[in-house]
């Protein structure tokens, strides 16, 4: 069975296109791009964090030059040779804005001095940790063997042990070997982070060694060190800035903790934690300023650094990036006006008759699905009309990115965050798109079921199959008893050919094909009128595929269920469907009975698809050359124009509408009269020229 492969649109076209010769402005834009994709709030947090960090850098390295006192100064010179001591424990005043300590030091001066100490310790500690951790990680991961295993055990033991306790011991030991000071404190702090860097780098190194491409390069005599190095570099470069920033934040806390316990820098060197320890007795006397300000400094700086680190993590980790909430409106999103599909503006006589005479499983009118993307809003489905009759199977085909999966989800009003659905989907005389949430929930599973692709991940791994069924059945029919629901589950499983005895198994105990059948059983257990099956057989072997298809066939003929079968596989369509709708760039471009579409396709795009399926040399990935258009700014005129071998001048000006091109067959192409009202008949080239159909 031959398959039409969709040509994948380059999802991130310009990220691949940045190289060393790109002008600086472009490159900066490229770096900033992931930031733009995070929410405004996250960006706000990152940049305010950065602002505070810069402020502290100024405090640490510029303020000492401006502020009159140093942190260890307890008196000032009023006249040459004549000193006056600062008062002890003076509350904040103009002279001493943050007050003075028990030993008569100026609190603000100590905070300023401690800030530079904090940055110095941070820099030393993180450098030591990175140097040691990265080196050991590279070496151990690269070398492998016993050495690697031993070091992993050692590092894991240290990692699991309370890091602060370890730091205290190291701080004490180094302090007594080297004399207590900045370096011993920094080294003690570093000990906490070495295992982290080690683990990250070691695991990357170890895994890349086993990559097939390294193996291959080695057999060609390439230096695998270079490959391994480059690969690790790119992976580590992604994680390390995040770890680094978070460690920098954390190191301030560890330093303060060491200082507080007396294992950090020795008094009277100004250090925030040490100063708080010195202020402990003041607190009992109700004096707040000696402890409060150093603590505030720590909180501010650590918070700021953490925000930057977490923000970077959000940027690096795209999973957390999509923003917005599902809804029905996107402000500022241009709404295209054109209608498309059967029963739309160009409602054909056939479709009208069909709608009037037959019972419809689903009636779709002007359905639109919009998303916000980093480049702007786009309509992935752009005004589709479709009548799905009861007992009918309609195949929805198209390349990836044509909008077919979005359309399937929209029929249940299922949207990811940032998506909107508009238009109408009428099932059992109720419009699911505009219904209140409670109605929508009731209709899902009971009126219309969706069978997803990737059966492996669609079941909750922690719940038995029976619990999935019972939960679903009792949600929709609260009066059904548990016992009854279990019986229904067994019956449904039996229908799809799974032994009912397995009802209490967990999802991971089933194979992929079985799980897909479990999903199907769940889709039919409440006997919905409509089933949307999204690539139900992808990734399954041919035998399981035909089992699933014959199950769908039986539902259709025996239960009179309307099925929308979404697929990129024309073979599946030929086997299971009555009609086909071909989707391209968010619209239906051709639709009609299966045999007609296969034997006499009218739209140039359909011709390309069919030709590449029927002819034997279908090894190439892109069955139709070129890429679908960018939907953020869809081209005027026909969306297929720049890939179309028949394209005429006015194709880029006039937007074609679906028009009748045969019995029950419609196509949206200007080659056919009626597709564009204002195109003069004499410019049309005759259709159906077999010479030209090799697209």
């Amino acid at each position: 069975m031959s398959t039409v492969h969709g040509s994948e649109a380059p999802a991130d076209a310009h990220s691949a296109a940045v190289n060393s010769r790109t002008p600086l402005k472009k490159r900066l834009q490229h770096i900033y791009r992931p930031f733009r994709q995070t929410s405004r709030i996250s960006r706000g947090l990152i940049f305010s964090g950065l602002g505070v960090v810069v402020f502290f850098l100024l405090v640490a390295f510029v303020a000492p030059l401006l502020y009159p006192y140093s942190g260890t100064q307890y008196r000032k010179e009023v006249a040459p040779g004549e000193f006056v001591k600062f008062p002890a424990l003076a509350p904040p005043s103009v002279e001493h804005p943050f007050g003075t300590t028990r030993d008569g030091f100026d609190v603000l001066a100590r905070i300023i001095d401690a800030a530079s100490l904090a940055f110095v310790v941070m820099a030393i500690a993180v450098s030591i940790a990175m140097l040691v951790g990265v080196t050991l990680g590279l070496y151990s991961g690269y070398r492998g063997g016993k050495f690697d295993r031993a070091l992993v055990t050692v590092m894991d033991s240290v990692y699991a042990f309370p890091s602060l306790v370890m730091a205290i011991i190291v701080g004490f030991v180094l302090g007594s070997i080297l004399t207590q000071g900045v370096f011993s404190a920094a080294a003690a702090v570093a000990v906490v982070y070495i295992p982290q860097y080690y683990r990250v780098v070691r695991n990357h190194t170890f895994s890349v060694k086993q990559e097939p491409f390294v193996e291959a390069a080695r057999s060609f005599g390439a230096k695998d060190r270079t490959i391994v190095g480059r690969y690790i570099f790119f992976n580590v470069v992604q994680t390390v800035p995040v770890i680094l920033t978070l460690n920098a934040a954390d190191s301030i806390l560890v330093l303060a903790a060491l200082g507080f316990l007396g294992y950090g820098v020795p008094y009277p060197i100004p250090e925030w934690g040490l100063d708080i320890a010195k202020a402990t007795n003041d607190v009992a006397a109700g004096i707040w300023w000696t402890a409060f300000w150093p603590g505030m400094a720590i909180v501010l700086l650590v918070t700021a650094l953490t925000l930057v680190g977490e923000g970077l993590n959000d940027v690096v980790n795209p999973l957390l990036r999509t923003r917005g909430k599902a809804g029905r409106k996107i402000a500022g999103m241009p709404r295209s006006r054109r209608k498309n599909g059967d029963g739309g503006v160009t409602r054909s006589a056939d479709a009208v008759r069909g709608a009037a005479q037959e019972k419809l499983a689903a009636k779709i009118r002007d359905l639109r699905v919009g998303y916000r993307t980093s480049d702007g809003p786009l309509w992935a489905v752009d005004g589709v009309d479709l009548n799905l009759r009861a007992g009918e199977c309609v195949g929805l085909v198209g390349e990836s990115g044509s909008g077919k999966s979005s359309m399937g989800r929209a029929m249940l009003r299922l949207m990811p965050p940032g998506g909107v659905v508009q238009g109408e989907v009428e099932i059992d005389d109720r419009d699911i798109v505009n219904a209140p949430e409670s109605t929508v929930r009731k209709m899902r599973g009971e009126g219309i079921s969706l069978m997803f692709q990737e059966p492996m991940t669609r079941l909750n791994p922690l719940m038995r199959v029976s619990d999935h069924f019972v939960e679903m059945i009792r949600t929709h029919q609260p009066k059904t008893s548990r016992q009854r629901a279990r019986t229904m589950a067994r019956d449904a499983l039996m229908q799809v050919g799974i032994p009912p005895t397995r009802v209490d198994n967990y999802p991971h105990e089933f194979s992929g094909g079985m799980r897909q059948r479990v999903m199907l059983a769940m889709a039919i257990v409440l006997t919905p009128r409509t089933i949307v099956a999204d690539e139900p057989t992808t990734a399954l072997d041919v035998i399981v595929e035909s089992q699933i298809l014959s199950l769908l066939e039986r539902l259709r003929s025996e239960e009179n269920v309307g099925i929308l079968l979404i697929t990129h596989n024309l073979g599946v369509v030929a086997e299971a469907c009555d009609r086909v709708a071909v989707m391209y760039a968010g619209r239906i471009v051709e639709m009609g009975p299966v045999d007609q579409i296969f034997n006499d396709p009218k739209h140039p795009y359909t011709r390309g698809l069919v030709a590449s399926t029927i002819s034997l040399n279908t090894t190439e990935l892109h069955s139709v050359g070129g890429y679908p258009p960018n939907l953020v700014e869809p081209p005027t005129g026909c969306r297929f124009a720049d890939r179309c071998a028949y394209a005429m001048d006015h194709c880029t000006k006039v937007d074609p509408e679906l028009t009748t091109v045969g019995p029950e067959q419609q196509a949206a192409c200007l080659l056919y009269p009626g597709a564009g009202a204002d195109v003069p008949a004499d410019v049309r080239t005759p259709s159906g020229d077999p010479q030209k159909s090799e697209v």
Partner: protein, 338 residues
Amino acid sequence: MKTGSLGRYLVTRVLLAVPSVFILLTLVFLLLHAAPGDPVTATLGGRLPPAEIAARQETLGLNDPIYVQYFNYLAGALTGDFGNPVTDSRSVVEIILETAPATLELAAAGMLIAVTLGVVVGAIAGRLRDTAFDVGGRLFGVVIYAAPVFWTALLGQLLFSVKLGWLPSSGRAGGFDAPEQITGFYVFDSIITGDWEALQSSLLHLILPAVTLGLLIGGVFIRLVRVNMLQTLRSDYVEAARGRGLPERNVLFRHAFKTALIPIITIVGLQFALMLGYAALTETTFSWPGLARELIDFVGTRDYAAVQGIVTFIALVVVGVSLLIDIITGIIDPRVRY
């Protein structure tokens, strides 16, 4: 991975933990012996005649070659005998038995507060992503983690003990208020002896240290729970659950939340170790008579025997907790089989 029984799994896990405890012991031994000086001189030097000091060093075996000291120490550790500290009349084991319950009680109470806070705020923040609640919750998580625990502790003391006088500022329930010692866990002891006054006093003393500690770790949990919630909320089976028409409440709690919990439980285990470290700070601030504080003091006096004994004990607790976490995960997640 359906091989073996829970029992065999536990035995394997314990056996696997042995090298890790051994490594820590060796590391600590080496570190302590790398520092110049010895416990006797450090604590008694100048106060006793040199001959007396030399004699004590001799009895403690401090003049033996280092490898002899190491093997003696390992042999002691194996038989559960960690020797006697120089500065304390109690044996190391007695010290541990006396002070560990205080630390564990504090850590457990702190963990309870942290988990409750983290799970509730984190789950809601993940659900209400990018709302005021989410931003507030995240910021709170970051700020509270950024605050040194001893500083929040001092501020808490200043406000609730010194200014308002609502809570005791330090120590555990003491004197007449202390319950009869059975397990050493005061809250537990006062409940089983039915001593309600002791219970009240124990709880009052516990509130401030436990809340300080709990807030700190709770900050970590808020962020963690939120991220895991976000990830599960967009997982395939959550979408599938919505597609079956389940109400949002069920989708959230039965499908999203429970799975999000698994990595969280694992991290709770790791954080417990971290918490023992922070407990040292909290105990110092609140004069809480716990193990971690003892350890800090013994490090200062270079008391090998005591430090090594307490480190071993902490390492064992860490191993025990991670074992417990594995068992809990195994119960929740059917994919894990021993």
